[in-house]
Symmetry: C2
Subunit: 361 residues, 2 copies
């Protein structure tokens, strides 16, 4: 070891889902939207002139902040924007979770939370989901340094009703509660209406899923103006200009086309229900889905075996080799065609496997 290595911050980095470059792969592993963004988005990028690119962007990204404020019916000083919701959440951890008491999040949840806690040396405790993969509000009472959970939860897709969310926020008025609503547009009820009532509540959302803009990295937080000011102070101390001109232009254009947004998110929900029924017929089950993915287990066939078989067939889904969920697959909802090919493969695979198994008896 070299002497300079002594002071290095060593971390166990988050491992994102694979990004295969093969265009024939059916990619159901990173919860991307199967539809392109609203047509106005590519038009907005085509119009970006060199004169704009040579200049620093507006550090406050006012154009995008104002478009978000209008769309969600809040004031501009209630909106914080960042480079995807990961950037927004990392800034939240850095800004709000600076105490000595542990922050709380579920045992099964977005796998970045413990990574950020470790990176910023924030103590944390995990609270187990119940056997139905539900967050139990009573587990988030008592002294703590803050609370964060996704709703719907990841990777289960399970939705917590708004009353239960409010129960957690109300029980934690002295710390910040962050509701990470990356998947809220696929059938959930947002906690957004609660931000005026609870000044300790921050709602985080993203353009990566329901607005088909994972490639442009846009996330945002909504909360009371004091929380937003604290977040901006830290953001400006980190990097004044995080949102590039293309992200600002694309974000504004995506928000302008509400009809397209409604159409694609509804289509994904329709495809989700159809896929779920087909999977049930094949022997799969899982929690009620409220996101753009299904979280399923098979009555006979181990998830890891299915994961590998699907991958061999060029169908990428996500498998987490972690306690309690290591017999589940997380399957992103793609187009109808993609889901039909998934179902066809599974049908065939399980049939052959059953046949082989019979043969072995």
């Amino acid at each position: 070891m070299r002497p300079w290595e002594e002071y290095i911050r060593r971390v166990e980095p988050y491992v994102p889902g694979e990004q295969p470059q093969d265009p024939y792969v059916i990619k159901l592993n990173t919860n991307e939207n199967p539809y392109p963004p609203a047509p106005g988005v590519t038009r907005a990028l085509e119009k970006l002139e060199g004169e704009k690119l040579r200049k620093y962007p507006d550090p406050s990204a006012a154009g995008l902040v104002s478009a978000i404020a209008r769309r969600y019916g809040v004031n501009m000083d209630q909106v914080f924007v960042g480079v995807g919701s990961d950037d927004v959440l990392a800034m939240c951890f850095l800004t709000f979770f600076g105490g000595e008491k542990p922050i709380l999040f579920p045992d099964i949840t977005y796998s970045f939370y413990d990574v950020w806690a470790s990176l910023f040396r924030i103590p944390y405790e995990r609270r187990p989901l119940n056997d139905e993969f539900e967050i139990v509000p009573e587990d988030y009472q008592g002294e703590n340094g803050g609370v964060i959970f996704p709703n719907p939860n990841a990777p289960t897709g399970k939705l917590l009703p708004l009353e239960a969310v409010e129960e957690i926020v109300r029980a934690n008025r002295d710390v910040i509660v962050i509701v990470d609503e990356a998947y809220i547009d696929f059938g959930g009820v947002s906690a957004l209406p609660l931000i005026d009532q609870y000044d300790n509540l921050l709602v985080v959302q993203t353009f990566s899923k329901s607005r088909s803009l994972a490639g442009m990295r846009i996330g945002f937080a909504l909360g009371n103006p004091r929380l937003i000011r604290y977040l901006n102070d830290v953001k400006y101390s980190f990097n004044s200009y995080t949102m590039n001109q293309a992200a600002i232009a694309a974000g504004v254009a995506a928000l302008e086309d509400q009809k397209y947004f409604e159409g694609t998110r509804r289509q994904i929900m329709v495809t989700r229900e159809r896929t779920r029924e087909s999977l049930q017929k094949l022997g799969f089950s899982g929690p009620d889905p409220a996101a753009n993915f299904l979280f399923v287990t098979h009555r006979d066939c181990p998830a890891e075996e299915l994961f590998e078989a699907l991958k061999q067939a060029g169908i990428y889904v996500r498998y987490f080799k972690k306690p309690r969920i290591d017999n589940y697959l997380r399957i992103t909802i793609g187009t109808n065609d993609e889901m039909e090919r998934l179902i066809e493969f599974l049908e065939q695979y399980l049939k052959n496997r059953g046949g082989n198994a019979d043969g072995n008896v």
Copy 2:
């Protein structure tokens, strides 16, 4: 104060230069390049398809990393990319400056260094420049937690010769030395050739100045593969996907057009020399310039007065009300036309002022 405010990270945020939206303003205050990026850049953005935008970018930004590696004659594992050099530098502070001993940087320097140190609770000491605004290598010897300085320095524009840079790197083999070369392409000599010899050296550059892409936020660090791996581990723990599809495409296109790059950076150096001569005739002086800006003081007229007068006239320059430099202006090199308008205004203003002063005698 609300109880949740107790745990909030309070910071004194960096204040970036103003970004006036008035198109008639002559903007010489944030060291942007007066020329648009290479024509291939806007073409690359026009070609970005919805199919690409809906998907997460490659987290390693391999396309951009490989283009940088080719251009600078290094291996891909010697390149780290980020959202502007501010993001790269913030990640460096977080990754490498984790010790108890103070890190060292000049008293007059890029004003983000102490902001990052405060944000990440890193102890630091400032080492004064000499009276010629030069970094004194002997001041960076002895025990410390790391060293960082810009070369050319900001906001002075003063270049440290490569031998002096090497002296500092050699005297600090047990800690990381970061040379922040945001302005190196305007006449300086890069420390890049030293990275193979010194495994404690990291060279940071940006696309914001010499490649006219401030609006796209692209910065990079070059160093030995172990340093780059540590940086990437922290980056992936913060936000796996920081470089959006547009930034990756624009960065690659900018690197492809070396002829355009050479042409515009030379033009800026020619304009700089011409402007410097005109300013000298008007009674201005300052350190030899090696960046895309001049750092000047006038023999009679206070800098703050000139700053305000210029602003009234729609010409924005930068003024820092800080010890030792509060009688200097930092003036970005714009087009020849913009610099002529600056000189005309100053000539007239100083003449009127002299006339008024005479009248008061």
